[in-house]
């Protein structure tokens, strides 16, 4: 694997291999000194054109646990403000000698453009491009469900909220269905993509009707600015119809999970009490995010990563050695 640009480019076997490798790195993360030399001498740069706290920190933690060196390209204080083009920025960073670029950008497709400009010399990881994809989020989300329930096969997963503008939803739909789950999108028509042609999903505008059938209720962040675009009348009405409140959560089956990619708007798409219930695995998602990103970086940059991918027996030699 050279890049991780989208879930659409992966197969079920690819995702399952990432999950198995994530198990190994989750084990590393539980050690007293959770650090291995797997990516010693490798250099990873964060190219974040859009604000991100949790994704950037999660990648940073993952890289450090693998002993990679990291650099941050901070758009706010950089030459971008002086008019440097995206392509020049990327070529400049490459010339300094990096092994991977982890990019987030408000425009869909930028990770593909970067991979093209770099002629595949440097690995590119998509950390979120516009409304399009957020592949590591889908990998950690599906890993979390697998961790809780053993498998996604036959699960019914409801994704609730602003799907139209959500890169998380686009990646999750692909990953969940690839892994055998059935997905229902639950949102007002204004918050769905204009066309769902080719999407392997069902659609509902009635959360209450779907809740009793769900194994996972996956809630998306509802943004304030959607009101000014006439997409919903008010947050109050949105919460009344689509918010996962304490009253609604009782309709879920006992073993159903509640998930959210964060950051949450407590009291809007999810009530504070629901967020804190044991069935809510939102914090587990964040924890698994680090191990998932370790697995991704290892697959792209690790010695013999290809061999690991091809084997059923996931043993990573570098994991035996602990960095003191």
């Amino acid at each position: 694997m050279k890049h991780l640009l989208s879930i659409a480019e992966l197969t079920r076997a690819d995702i399952e291999q990432v999950h198995k490798l994530t198990d190994s790195f989750a084990e590393v993360s539980r050690r007293s000194i959770p650090k291995v030399p797997a990516l010693r001498g490798k250099n990873v740069v964060w190219l974040f054109y859009e604000d991100s706290t949790r994704t950037r920190l999660s990648f940073e933690q993952a890289a450090k646990r693998l002993s990679a060196d990291t650099m941050t390209f901070s758009v706010g204080s950089s030459s971008v403000k002086k008019g440097e083009s995206l392509r020049d920025t990327v070529l400049t960073i490459e010339a300094m000698g990096v092994d991977a670029i982890v990019v987030r950008h408000a425009s869909a497709g930028v990770p593909w453009q970067i991979a093209t400009w770099l002629d595949d010399r440097v690995s590119v990881v998509n950390a979120g491009d516009g409304w399009h994809e957020h592949p590591t989020q889908a990998l950690l989300d599906s890993y979390t469900i697998r961790e809780e329930r053993g498998s996604l096969d036959g699960m019914h997963i409801g994704i609730v909220g602003d799907i139209k503008h959500s890169r998380v939803a686009r990646s999750d739909v692909l990953a969940y269905t690839m892994l055998g789950a059935q997905v229902t999108l639950i949102a007002p028509p204004t918050l769905l993509p204009p066309s769902l042609e080719g999407w392997p999903v069902q659609v509902s505008h009635d959360l209450d009707a779907v809740l009793p059938t769900l194994d996972v209720a996956y809630l998306l962040r509802m943004q304030q600015e959607r009101m000014t675009e006439y997409l919903v009348p008010s947050l109050r009405e949105y919460t009344a119809r689509y918010g996962l409140t304490l009253r609604r959560v009782d309709a879920l089956r006992d073993d159903a999970l509640v998930m959210h990619p964060g950051p949450m708007n407590r009291g809007v798409e999810i009530s504070a009490e629901v967020a804190d219930l044991p069935r809510s695995v939102i914090i587990d998602q964040v924890r698994n995010g680090v191990a998932t990103r370790m697995a991704v970086l290892y697959l792209l940059l690790g010695q013999g990563a290809d061999r690991v991918l091809d084997s059923d027996d996931i043993t990573v030699p570098e994991l035996q050695e602990v960095v003191g």
Partner: protein, 428 residues
């Protein structure tokens, strides 16, 4: 007296087809058409078609203001190489061509160009859609075609007044042309709204954004009686409405671009901004509708919407890059390669039909007959060639057809009798 003879070709014009040589006198007019003619200089037309020069109603020549992307001269050279003898400059320059001074400047720049360069004028001041531009003073300089191209005139009352006012311009056959796009519905959209925009996460603009303005302007044409021309129609719905309006006797015309009958929105999956254009690439159904409209007369002509952009402008994220693609050097070959139409019909769509809409049919698209101006192009309809962006005359390289093999090549182009292209090479 030096004469030129086009030898051994098949002549095709609006009157029909025949095998004939064409002699051009040194006054730039056709001296004779017939078998076995001779002249001082022979241009071989063996195996080729001799046609009236092509006429483009939609060229962005970028001058003044964006000379790094194109100039009147480089655009005109590309046009000549593409078989055109007359092109119409769009007014969305910087500043916009919205008054006599800029009309004079563009016409002056065109005077030495290897193609007859005409200019359109903006309907509103600065193309801002707020105040009527001085259509009368531009019409006095010969402007016959007004548009705010790049944007539609959104204000219905203003558009109504523009149409009424244009109807009184010195009895001239002035055309009001519209780039149909409802800004409220299209706003923020960077490609066609549908299956691909939804999957790619790129904000889209629905077909209805175009169709609403077509619908409105058909109503205004009925109200005011003014001739309306619809630019670059791209949706099945738009074409159906224009077809129905024509059947009801309304004096409307329309054009379609080469990219709207050759490419679909699926191209955007590469995220390459070379496929970003406005109106956007649409669905298979729309492409089929454009082809059907060209075949049955619902669409009057093929236009290029030649829209050069510099490399740096197109090397941006898809949603940040400007829309537009090159067209002047590929339009004829795309029409020959892709449209399943007899060559005479292809040439009608590219030459005499647009010439009539623009009112230049006294000089361009005119029958190849004694006494008429020799604005001609000689085409080898069977020759194949590979599109090479670097080999184009344009200052820009943004063609979406790079590497494609096309059939049909321009061999010679004559502008008022002067061979401006010989054997595919620009002479100036």
């Amino acid at each position: 007296m030096a004469t030129i003879v086009l030898k051994g070709g098949r002549v095709i014009d609006s009157t029909g087809e025949r095998t004939a040589d064409v002699v051009i006198a040194d006054d730039g007019r056709i001296a004779a058409v017939g078998p076995d003619l001779s002249g001082d200089r022979i241009l071989d037309a063996g195996g080729c078609v001799v046609s009236p020069g092509l006429v483009d109603l939609h060229s962005h020549l970028r001058q003044p203001g964006q000379e790094e992307a194109e100039t009147v001269e480089t655009g005109a050279r590309g046009a000549a190489l593409g078989g055109y003898t007359c092109i119409l400059a769009m007014p969305n320059t910087i500043p916009a061509i919205d008054h006599a001074g800029l009309v004079r400047e563009v016409l002056e720049l065109g005077r030495t160009a290897p193609c007859d360069v005409r200019t359109s004028g903006a309907i509103t001041v600065g193309r801002a859609g707020e105040q009527l531009a001085p259509l009368g003073e531009m019409a006095e300089l010969g402007v016959r075609f007004f548009t705010d191209d790049g944007a539609g005139v959104a204000d219905t009352r203003l558009m109504r007044r523009a149409m009424e006012y244009a109807g009184g311009l010195a009895g001239q056959s002035v055309v009001l042309a519209q780039h149909c796009e409802d800004p409220a519905l299209a706003g923020g959209g960077h490609m066609h709204e549908g299956e691909w925009s939804s999957r790619l996460g790129i904000p889209g603009q629905p077909a209805e954004a175009e169709e609403l303005m077509v619908m409105r302007d058909l109503a205004l044409a009925r109200l005011t009686g003014t001739r309306v021309h619809f630019q670059h129609l791209s949706t099945a719905g738009s074409i159906a409405m224009v077809r129905a309006a024509k059947a009801s006797g309304l004096a409307v015309t329309c054009e379609a671009t080469t990219h709207h009958f050759t490419l679909t929105h699926a191209e955007c999956a590469s995220y390459d901004p070379v496929f970003k254009v406005n109106p956007p690439l649409r669905t298979d159904v729309d492409v089929a509708a454009v082809r059907a409209g060209l075949a049955d007369g619902a669409i009057d002509c093929i236009a290029t919407d030649h829209a050069p952009h510099t490399q740096e402008a197109k090397e941006a994220a898809f949603d940040q890059a400007p829309p537009g693609m090159l067209g002047l050097q590929t339009a004829l070959a795309l029409a020959i390669t892709e449209l399943e139409l007899p060559l005479a019909e292809v040439l009608a769509l590219l030459s005499w039909q647009p010439a009539r809409i623009l009112g230049v049919d006294d000089e361009h698209g005119i029958p190849i007959a004694k006494g008429n101006p020799a604005n001609l192009t000689v085409i080898d309809p069977a020759a194949t060639w590979v599109v090479d962006p670097a080999a184009m005359a344009s200052r820009s390289r943004n063609t979406p057809y790079a590497g494609r093999t096309l059939t049909g090549q321009v061999r010679h182009t004559l502008l008022f009798g002067e061979p401006v292209v010989i054997d595919g090479q620009a002479q100036r």
